[in-house]
């Protein structure tokens, strides 16, 4: 029997709704958002569903406020989330940086459309990949997950919440319009089959507690407001206690920690699906809706006896550099179809080094690749 907070069973829903259900299943009880195509349906679902599970939905006056509100809710002790698309994602960026600096767990779902600016509001794009990585000023580590189906919208929103709690920072779900608006079967698992990371509570006595301790491999547990700990939260460069210290020495520790907590744990975070890679001569690197097309192309080529493979990126960030670096020594070429003018292709090129051909198959947005196009591009190197 499904309970309201976990609708165990089979559903026929779109990716946007699946993101909302993933959030609720992961324990999200606060959503602040703003209407924007093609992510509005996430907010609409949350508006209907959160009151049913004792959560709160607030529609904010813009995306700046939406991002700020979920940071506040997180410090108030609630798992929180927002959803948006390109222009709204741009507006959120200052507060994304605040979330990174204050190490505040939360999840931002970005259903990508084609940009820049208003762009193609109703049509697909994948051009927020680099914005997710570098969008806010300053240095910080980034986790971004790219679902390829409504099922994965559910699964990776749950995973994003888990990552956000473990690594204590905003985590992105970078879906795209095609995935967000595709309606498919989504299986919501039973509670015992779902791994949910609860928020860690500090164990140290109040006078010893360091809310921004960077000594260990993971961030310190986060004391929420009113839990009896004295916590100073600031966007200024701060020491382990959270107090602003405006020196290069503290900046060095502070920023290194923000980057290293992801960089040093990258192996544990990275997810990638490796299809027919063992003997592949040509590897397609794809993510989001493009990965589904690429998969069709690779399977077709295999059926015809060609040694094609697919590296499907699930974590866009951290990027699976080791896998690419290893493949670069054996394959002839990487084919990178993406709905932008070369964002992941740069990353593949950077990690692969100079010895291998990198072929970018860009689309500016509004349409998706066909398997035939990808087969043709792969065929040139077989």
């Amino acid at each position: 029997m499904a309970e309201k907070d976990l609708l165990t069973g089979e559903h026929f829903i779109h990716g946007d709704a699946a993101c909302a259900e993933g959030g609720i299943a992961a324990g999200c009880r606060f959503f602040a958002g703003y209407p924007i195509t093609p992510a509005t349906e996430v907010a609409e679902r949350m508006a209907a569903r959160l009151p049913q599970v004792g959560g709160i939905f607030i529609q904010m006056e813009d995306e700046i406020a939406s991002m700020a509100a979920i940071l506040g809710a997180s410090w108030g002790g609630v798992k929180s989330m927002t959803s948006t698309s390109g222009p709204g994602f741009s507006l959120m960026m200052e507060n994304v940086g605040l979330g990174m600096m204050t190490e505040t767990p939360c999840v931002v779902v970005d259903i990508q459309r084609a940009g820049p600016s208003t762009g193609l509001p109703t049509l697909v794009g994948q051009a927020d990949v680099m914005q997710a990585r570098w969008g806010s000023h300053g240095d910080y580590g980034c986790i971004a997950l790219a679902p390829s189906s409504p099922q994965e919208c559910f699964d990776y929103t749950v995973l994003a919440f888990n990552y956000s709690e473990i690594y204590r920072q905003p985590v992105f779900v970078l879906a795209d319009e095609v995935v967000g608006h595709t309606t498919e079967k989504v299986v919501i698992p039973r509670r015992e089959d779902l791994r949910i990371v609860a928020r860690a509570e500090p164990q140290a006595p109040a006078h010893d507690y360091l809310p921004f301790d960077s000594a260990g491999p993971l961030p310190a547990p986060m004391a929420i407001a009113g839990a009896g700990y004295r916590v100073h939260v600031t966007g200024l460069t701060h020491d382990e206690r959270g107090y602003p210290v405006i020196t290069d020495v503290v900046q060095e520790r502070n920023v290194r920690h923000l980057v290293d907590k992801i960089r040093k744990n990258a192996d544990k975070i990275i997810r990638a699906e490796q299809i027919h890679l063992d003997d592949a001569e040509v590897v397609v690197v794809a993510y989001g809706c493009t990965a589904r097309v690429a998969r069709q192309a690779v399977e077709d080529l295999r059926r015809r006896g060609h040694r094609a493979g697919l590296l499907r990126l699930i974590t866009l960030w951290p990027f699976p550099s080791q896998i690419v670096r290893r493949l670069a020594t054996t394959v002839k070429a990487f084919i990178v179809p993406e709905i932008n003018y070369g964002q992941m292709a740069y990353e593949v090129e950077r990690t692969a080094g100079g010895g291998v051909e990198i072929v970018l198959m860009p689309l500016m947005g509004g349409s998706i690749h066909t398997p035939e196009e990808i087969e043709e591009a792969v065929g040139e190197y077989l």
Partner: protein, 325 residues
């Protein structure tokens, strides 16, 4: 002969400009009173204008190539910045005129946005425009929700309306549970020369106000109730009627604030009950008598407050309009 017959038809609409600055054939929904409001605003201003328009219904329905409806210089900006872009246009034109780089003639700068683009995301830019004192008109075409993205609430959505993000139901009997943001009041609080509310159901009043806004010696703000049959879930042919009802029930009073002097533009002797306005609208279908009473009480209080404002600020021999039936 055809000329004469035209004259005859147009007789009641004396001084109604025939030029169209927004062409027909756009993609607005049937019965859209918002595009009607835009049409009237443009007619009253005339062709010498630059229009900065926020993202929203009016931008989407009027501009997809090759079907632009605009016969005036028009710039589509982002969602939040019509007032800021308009400020730049006004300041830029002023500088160019001073340097003699553009002809020394009056060009009206207009910024336009929907209720979301005005009272939510564009609020900050709007306040900045007022405070800096740009000589331009800001027009809010208010259809009381984010209709372009599919009927989500805005801060201009009235209490009791059901939208997709304020759905009426067991958890929230009223649907939207906060009251409509008083944008004209907020604009007036900036002490700008001219603020007015209008509704295309009363088009001559609307156009008179636009003409006044054009002549104002600083920022002017027009808040226009724009009936949206799609979002309010009413038959398209009822759009004008519901606009009239909104005014005559006191839900949306017509008034102006001219240099701090509040003045009613339409003062029915007896306001109609709000239930007349609420019934038949799908967005209010869930309301029961208790909730309707709450709305009625709010409207009565607001009406009284408005009357007091007109008494307080009006000159002793105020030219209040004759009371109408």
């Amino acid at each position: 002969m055809p000329e004469e017959s035209k004259k005859k038809i147009l007789k009641p609409l004396k001084n109604f400009p025939l030029e169209e600055h927004i062409a027909s054939g756009h993609r607005a929904c049937q019965g859209c009173a918002e595009v009607l409001a835009v049409r009237h605003v443009l007619k009253a201003i005339g062709p010498e204008m630059v229009l900065a328009m926020a993202t929203g219904c009016m931008e989407i329905i009027s501009s997809p190539y090759p079907l632009t409806s605009w016969n005036v210089p028009w710039i589509h900006v982002a969602f939040e910045n019509a007032a800021a872009v308009g400020s730049g246009v006004e300041a830029g034109l002023k500088a160019l005129r001073r340097k003699g780089r553009v002809p020394d003639k009056e060009v009206t700068v207009v910024a336009m946005g929907g209720d979301g683009g005005t009272s939510d995301i564009g609020f900050q830019a709007l306040s900045g425009m007022f405070e800096r004192g740009h000589k331009m008109i800001y027009v809010c075409v208010d259809n009381e929700a984010y209709m372009n993205t599919g009927i989500q609430r805005s801060s201009s959505t009235p209490f009791g309306a059901s939208t997709t993000t304020s759905p009426a139901g067991k958890m929230s009997p009223s649907g939207q549970n906060t009251s409509k943001k008083d944008m004209p009041g907020i604009a007036a609080a900036h002490n700008i020369p001219y603020v007015a509310t209008a509704c295309p159901s009363y088009y001559s009043d609307l156009m008179k106000k636009v003409a006044k806004a054009k002549e104002a010696d600083g920022p002017a703000y027009l808040h226009i109730l724009s009936v949206c049959p799609t979002g309010w879930r009413i038959p398209p042919e009822k759009a004008i009627e519901y606009g009239q009802l909104a005014v005559d029930t006191g839900i949306f009073p017509l008034y102006e604030v001219d240099h701090g002097v509040w003045k009613m533009s339409r003062k029915p002797k007896q306001l109609k009950p709000v239930a007349d306005y609420l019934k038949g609208q799908g967005r209010y279908r869930h309301l029961d008598e208790t909730l309707i009473a709450v709305i009625q009480k709010g409207v009565d209080e607001k009406w009284e407050r408005l009357l007091k404002m007109t008494e307080m600020t009006g000159p002793a021999t105020s030219e209040q309009p004759a009371q109408e039936e």
